[in-house]
């Protein structure tokens, strides 16, 4: 029952990134003077090294640490989504933090440590590890959300913290009940317990456990009606952190959801799919309807992230490997388009002024053609219009839902998608169709080489995975084959 080098092999990427975080902290301490512009790149270097040491991309399922951590293709796929999220976030943060005078090593270290938490969530095969990983990620994010230490940032951090703690309570109690019912908190063990004992599926303790775990995750992915924290937290947090929260947390949480619901609760699909059906519908619809009413782009993107969680939930409802592959694809696509969009938001701001009101965008499309092009691309992708990655993501998820016969949910999904077009297009309308006001709000862009690079990478990702999705779809399907 001890661990071996094989176990360590599975943990290598996590260790590398943790080491990078520590290195970043130390490097600042020993840096002469105030020269610390290299810190984010140190972090990115760590992520790149981690990417090269990631095990099990193509191999069969392996698990280590007495069944605590998986080294399967599924985990590897999510790791790579998270690497992209982490690296892009660091790139986007660099110039932003310097401009706001908050470029401290703690920020970069927290991003890296949150990344470790996210990766462990995706790789964990034991509810105990899932929970601890989730806490690691969440606490880092609470601190990041409050990193600007102004009133709005503090409010964001506090709201997120209170509701996050609340959701952790739900999750933990759910796990405890599941342990009571199944005698184990290992994901495979729970599956075996439910599969071997049909009566267990009807036991109130098990069902209450499943329900509470569902609620706990619903908080984390911001599903309606557990989404109340999202708009304020997203709007108040530093924009780069918002991007990180919306993409990284979502990817990690959905990865854990996939493992828990598709593996542990596989035999209970009939029971939870109905509940999630309603959640998915509510999440899509409310997210979109409230997003339409927003006049602030950052807040609009916050509500839209709720709507996107709804689309992904449609995939969870379908509950097949095909749907899981679609979800993975969607998460990657969402990472690119969302971080890209938030990068554009950062660029229009200046120190102390975010300029995220819709009116600030008037006329920017022609004034800054590159920004206009990038923002339009990200908006079209979020609206799910081909040839972008956002379209392929929606296509795959709806395809899986139709396959399982969820026609109505799919129809509601596409109608929601059509409604969302309205508010995504409104950004483009303002950028291109409205003249710039006489006293321009945005005089220059906060764009350094790193910001430009991040935006270009995100844009290329959105286009590339929108036009030649084949290879990635195959990889995602492979990932799910080893999961289920």
């Amino acid at each position: 029952m001890t661990f071996s080098m094989a176990d360590m092999r599975l943990l290598t990427p996590h260790l590398v990134i943790t080491a990078a975080a520590l290195l970043v902290l130390l490097a600042e301490a020993v840096s002469p003077g105030r020269r610390k512009g290299y810190l984010p790149y140190l972090g990115i270097a760590g992520i790149v090294v981690a990417a090269f040491t990631t095990p099990g991309l193509f191999g069969p399922a392996r698990s280590g640490f007495s069944g605590m951590l998986a080294g399967d293709a599924f985990a590897a796929f999510v790791y790579f989504i998270l690497y992209a999220v982490g690296a892009l976030t660091l790139l986007v943060s660099d110039a932003y933090l310097r401009d706001e005078g908050r470029d401290h090593a703690e920020y970069y270290a927290l991003v890296l440590l949150a990344l470790v938490g996210m990766m462990l969530m995706a790789g964990a095969t034991h509810l105990m590890s899932v929970f601890l990983a989730l806490e690691t990620m969440s606490i880092a994010i609470y601190a990041l959300a409050g990193f600007f230490r102004d009133e709005r940032s503090a409010e964001a951090s506090f709201k997120y913290f209170i509701l996050g703690a609340f959701s952790s309570g739900f999750l933990l109690y759910g796990i405890a009940l599941l342990y009571g019912a199944c005698g184990t908190t290992e994901i495979q063990g729970i599956l075996d317990a439910f599969a071997s004992n049909r009566a267990l599926a009807g036991s109130p303790m098990a069902l209450a456990g499943v329900g509470l775990v569902t609620v706990g995750f619903a908080f984390k992915v911001a599903a309606v009606p557990f989404h109340m924290w999202t708009p304020d937290a997203y709007q108040g947090a530093p924009t780069s952190v918002t991007a990180f929260m919306a993409t990284g947390v979502k990817a990690a949480a959905f990865a854990a959801v996939l493992r828990v619901f598709f593996v542990a609760f596989q035999t209970l699909h009939v029971d939870w799919s109905g509940v999630l059906w309603v959640l998915a519908l509510l999440t899509m619809t409310l997210g979109n309807l409230t997003a339409i009413a927003q006049t602030d782009v950052k807040r609009m993107l916050a509500y839209s992230s709720i709507a996107h969680a709804g689309y992904i939930l449609v995939g969870v409802v379908a509950g097949t490997p095909e749907a899981g592959a679609g979800i993975l694809y969607y998460l990657l696509a969402y990472a690119f388009m969302n971080i890209g969009a938030f990068a554009c938001l950062i660029m229009v701001g200046r120190k102390g002024h975010e300029n995220t009101e819709l009116d600030a965008f008037a006329g920017l499309g022609f004034k800054f053609p590159a920004l206009g092009l990038a923002m339009s691309l990200f908006m079209f992708s979020m609206a799910g219009i081909p040839p972008t990655a956002g379209f392929i993501g929606k296509f795959l998820i709806f395809k899986a839902a139709v396959h399982q016969g969820y026609y109505w949910l799919t129809i509601f999904g596409v109608l929601n998608s059509a409604a969302s077009v309205y508010y995504y297009l409104r950004v483009i309308v303002t950028m291109y169709f409205k003249p710039e006001p006489d006293t321009p709000v945005v005089e220059g862009l906060r764009a350094g080489p790193s910001m430009a690079l991040a935006t270009i990478l995100a844009g290329l990702g959105v286009l590339y995975f929108g036009i030649v999705p084949g290879g990635l779809v195959d990889l995602a399907e492979q990932a799910l084959r080893y999961l289920v």
Binding site: F65, H104, E106, S129, A133, A140, L144, L177, A208
Partner: protein
């Protein structure tokens, strides 16, 4: 007998929790929390988890609470007047939700289901001892969660510095 003691401790734990919320003086809040922690420690003892009991007393009721009380005193928090009581929609809604929560929590009990026993039975504990059993589990099977917890602490530390340090 054991059950009766359990309920006494449980009641004190709940009362302590309510006290934390309702007390107007922060010091009273902190002391109520101590009450909760101690009651929980008692429940651990009832379950033959002597080691956890000791840790709970020393770390939570002792160290952490002392720290909290220190902080409160250093910050010199005045008696805060409770806000004017209004029974707004939010409160009613909150109460309804809380009620639902209680129902959910009671469901497993009401069904009269007893859970499956885990590995830490009385016999095992008597044989190997609480500390040995725990440490063995912690450093073999649960090594990874244990290590994750260390990263978690690091994150907490860095986060606290990031949020609270004056000149950063």
């Amino acid at each position: 007998m054991t059950l009766a003691i359990f309920f006494v401790f449980a009641a004190f734990a709940v009362l302590g929790g309510i006290g934390v919320l309702l007390a107007r003086n922060p010091i009273h809040s902190a002391l109520s929390l101590v009450g909760t922690m101690v009651s929980l420690a008692g429940i651990y003892l009832l379950h033959h988890a002597e080691f956890i009991f000791a840790i709970q007393l020393m770390v939570y009721a002792g160290a952490i609470m002392t720290l909290i009380v220190f902080v409160i005193m250093l910050l010199d928090v005045r008696h805060e007047e409770a806000e004017t009581e209004r029974l707004g929609f939010a409160k009613v809604f909150g109460m309804v939700l809380a009620g639902l929560m209680v129902v959910v929590l009671l469901v497993p009990l009401a069904a009269g289901l007893t859970g499956k026993p885990g590995g830490m039975t009385e016999e095992v504990l008597a044989r190997v001892g609480s500390v040995e059993f725990l440490s063995e589990k912690l450093f073999t099977t649960y090594l990874l969660p244990f290590e994750i917890a260390s990263v978690l602490l690091l994150v907490g530390l860095v986060g606290a510095v990031a949020l609270a340090k004056k000149r950063l």
